[in-house]
Symmetry: D2
């Protein structure tokens, strides 16, 4: 592997930071040279991420963006929304490429400010990093890495929307609880989550804005979105109830998806129904569908790992493209099933 | 408790049979005098249902419907569809009242024959036993006890449909795996079910016909239905995406539900979002909703225990009504939470 | 039911408080007239315990022990250790009988002070309320309700220890996570608990002192105890590896258990291996065993619901006895299986 | 990577076969050239193992051992016990090296025949492939790949037994249900396994013979073993209650383990308590311990992934050694946590 990338992670103590480290430990072209954490500065990365013990000899550092940029070719910012916009300008001016896993650069500035109730301090146009929809990611210095729900939902619906046949989509999404982060809460409390499925923000989840933005680029449709957390650590299964303007046959739908995702290795079109174990721990997005008889409804199902294709894996896929590598590098692993 | 009912169960070895026995053990007005099983005739009920040990001194018997009817005031038929229609006429002519937990009498005969691909050998009009919608259940000799999905879906949507404001409903339902019965299969195999959520029969589940039948009585709407199994033993959570003809305020919606379910003790309208643990093991149906801002969508969530309100508990509720008892008798227990 | 008991709960917002309320809602001889909570005073009980909605019309109150004692015949104290000893004297002097669910009165004072590192402000000799071992509970005004692990462990081992044949017992106990309470923590965080089993306090859990105290009354043995939490909300399964001084046959062991637990309705001796679903939500303790061939080891398994027989159910069992009721009153329900 | 190994799998449709394929897809020095299945001959490997879709372009074949041996440098036999002994001689005489994942060659012939109640048709002395204990694996043509429970138990106990200080060990082992294979059964039925922990073969599991064999080589001790299945797909957590002849300090114990496992990259000695998520999907064995105060007991905990270090990963580790590769090749990946 020719190009050796020096990579950094700002905010490495959470789940997406840990997942970046897990995946990069298997990447032949990357060396992680900096992982920051304000709270854990000075402690071993594996004190926090016990699964990484033996794989890294690395400590969390509490250092400035400038210092990180000075050491790194590329930097992942795995920080809360509102924080990234404060770091990214310095990282870029320090000469590093940046992949931002927060929400700060995903939406048009005006939309962002409305949805997040926050003034943007670094407004700019940034490519939304679903590489299957945005090949121009390859030439960027800054990528807005997409949200987990929008990745699963957009990939499920994009081909049919792009084909101009869709009128309305109702996304009923089901996410593993790791999406809520590593901080314990009543929602993630085992007795509340086990043997349950918990809908939340029934009509007002912020991720809807990303889905609308991306699908609107492809067609004029009505979008509804309701998220649920399920008793699973990882994974997002999206049930897209798609209402179409004209009846389509199964072969036609299959062709639309096949054509749209031609040459996209991480999209697997399957003939049955996707299942989370098949993508667990991997960067794949599995997609299947069924057409309702005598009806205007097509049900499309997508399955991703929220921490991989829905976050850190997609970030590395973007990094690969931005670095001139095959997008599969270090990510070409099957799901951990069963 | 004055009236002592002698009750029988035909097909007592499965989950709904076991659940009838569990619930009836707490019923002050019922004595179970016969439980049949072809395979387990002669063995102790608690050899199969270990949780019932000590509660019953009863053996499975392999006896005829006539004999069961001779002993019982009321008989529950917990057998596969296609079997009940062969037993019910004999039970009725033997003088017993019957609550059929199979699908045989739930649908208009023509619809049944189409949906189940089966000629009906005992066509008749039978009351569909959701007591909240069919108070006439009280005067019947035979009740068709509803399917689990239709109970959760219909109760969630009925008030708004009845109010004439609904155009389309998309039911995205999530069921505990006990709904698939006690026979092991690939779907119920722990490594396949854990850390997963499995959609199935995306557009063609038979229960849709029941939902359509019941909601069509109340209004003219389009119905979509997609079921999923979740890693939970019990429970059905229904996400009803309801699309309305005109905008409604929260207070108006609340009033519609309150009015519709006035005097129905097992319906609990709650201000937040229902959760399965609150109804686990109980006969309650918890319902909550949220109205999407600037949209024609209202999301209604209902939560039931599939084996209780979705099967055996509702059967006992019907029995109570048919016997002149308060419908709560023996069922007035909270969910087992956490 | 003749005697109507007015009951109170001090500390009703946690799991054991909620479980007392759940079980008492089914008790024909009890009326709950006071439930206290410092934090939740003034709010509806069902705002906290959503499963109880409709069953109680009751608010948490922030009132003094005196006031509780004035209203109640019997009071359950469901408070942390160290707090109960401050309340109990007032409750008793106020004329109420008391069942303390904390650890404060379970151990001999000297042992308590050493194990809990706390000076006891109300030292007295109190009956340890496993009714199967302490029938004298019936005549008491104050009962120390046992810990969850000690209940499962002691009931599993007592008969053989009492028979004088045991030299050493290694208790390897597995508890549902509800035993850790309703406060979210890293241990109860779903991503940490799911797909895991977490041993803790490998050699130093405080409950060991209770087990030693109770078994030492019956025989002179060596006791080891290691607890684990499992991905289950409820239940404690205890694997008791018992090392015996002389070989016993299966019939002899069975007779020892049968004799020891004769007339104890909540102990079910089973021929196979106990399972948690059989006791879920119920007050039963299921016990089974197997004798190792050519060995000095007998493996005894017990299964209880930690919140019922391991806490609130046993407390009600004690209440029944202290009130002259059949110990089964309000508790004679099977487990919620599946 | 210089040496390109052509590998074959006999019996590739089950969990260990699937896991070999998953892990080998990441191995830079191996090409899988044959996967057999009697039932699935002719179908795509990814029809059965959906997670492997896109990673392999390979069909199951129903071919003879001779043909497999002709194509392969090394063959993994992932077949039931009793079947391997019929295949291995042909594979060896065909010139292939063999790693047998069945039980057929793990035990001394006489012990095997007694434990499995089966005459051995190919008795020979074969190295038991825990590479940390058997470095001579490197020079073998045939390796008996160990059982999952014995791997976790033996690795937990070996250092202290080897140090001559142990008198008795009680292994209380907890396994993920994938250890029971991919065939649905009552044990693996979700409603039976969820919210439960199921002990089985309390005193008579066949794996005990392997543990005894391996530990007896190191010292003269008494061994007890009781397995449980837990509601987890993967993982074995072993609680080793070790009773010692003399008191040891924590530093001494730590030194014994450190010395014993020096240079063994897959053994991670940790200061806290091992957890299954840290090893999930990986070949690591994490080990921690605690010494009971004033007692002769030391509790050692080990955590492995039953399908990796407990089966297919260890098989590949053996393959690496037998092929002159670094044992970490293709296996040097962290656990998939959370």
């Amino acid at each position: 592997m020719v190009p050796m990338i020096d990579a950094g992670i700002i905010g490495g103590s959470g789940y997406t930071g840990g997942e970046l480290l897990r995946l990069l430990s298997n990447h032949p072209g990357v060396k992680v040279v900096a992982v920051t954490s304000r709270k854990l500065g000075g402690t071993d990365v594996s004190d926090k991420h016990a699964h990484l013990r033996g794989l890294y000899d690395l400590k969390f550092e509490d250092i400035s963006p400038e210092e990180v940029a000075g050491r790194c070719d590329i930097v992942f910012t795995a920080v809360p929304h509102g924080s990234a916009m404060k770091l990214v300008p310095e990282l870029l001016s320090g000469g590093a490429k940046v992949i931002d896993l927060s929400a700060d650069y995903r939406l048009a500035t005006g939309v962002f400010e409305k949805v997040y109730g926050l003034a943007h301090t670094d407004p700019r146009e940034v490519v939304y990093g679903i590489p299957e929809l945005h090949p121009e990611a390859a030439s960027q210095d800054l990528i807005a890495n997409p949200g987990c729900y929008p990745t699963g939902a957009t990939l499920a619906a994009a081909p049919l929307v792009d084909a101009g046949v869709v009128e309305r989509v109702v996304f009923d999404s089901k996410s593993g609880i790791s999406g809520a982060g590593e901080e314990p809460s009543q929602v993630s409390h085992y007795p509340n989550m086990a043997e349950n499925i918990q809908p939340y923000k029934l009509t007002s989840h912020r991720h809807k804005a990303e889905i609308v933005q991306e699908l609107s680029r492809l067609g004029n449709i009505k979008v509804s979105f309701t998220p649920h957390v399920i008793p699973s650590v990882r994974g997002i299964l999206t049930t897209a109830h798609m209402f179409v303007k004209r009846r389509l046959g199964a072969e036609e739908v299959r062709d639309i998806y096949r054509e749209f995702y031609r040459g996209k290795p991480f999209i697997r079109l399957i003939s049955g129904i996707p299942a989370l174990p098949s993508v667990r721990g991997s960067n794949f997005c599995d997609i299947g569908f069924e057409i309702e008889k005598d009806s205007d409804r097509i049900v499309v199902i997508s399955a991703i790992d929220n921490l991989v294709k829905g976050a850190s894996g997609q970030a590395i896929q973007n990094m690969n493209l931005m670095s001139g590598l095959d997008e599969r590098t270090g990510l070409w692993m099957p799901g951990v099933a069963p």
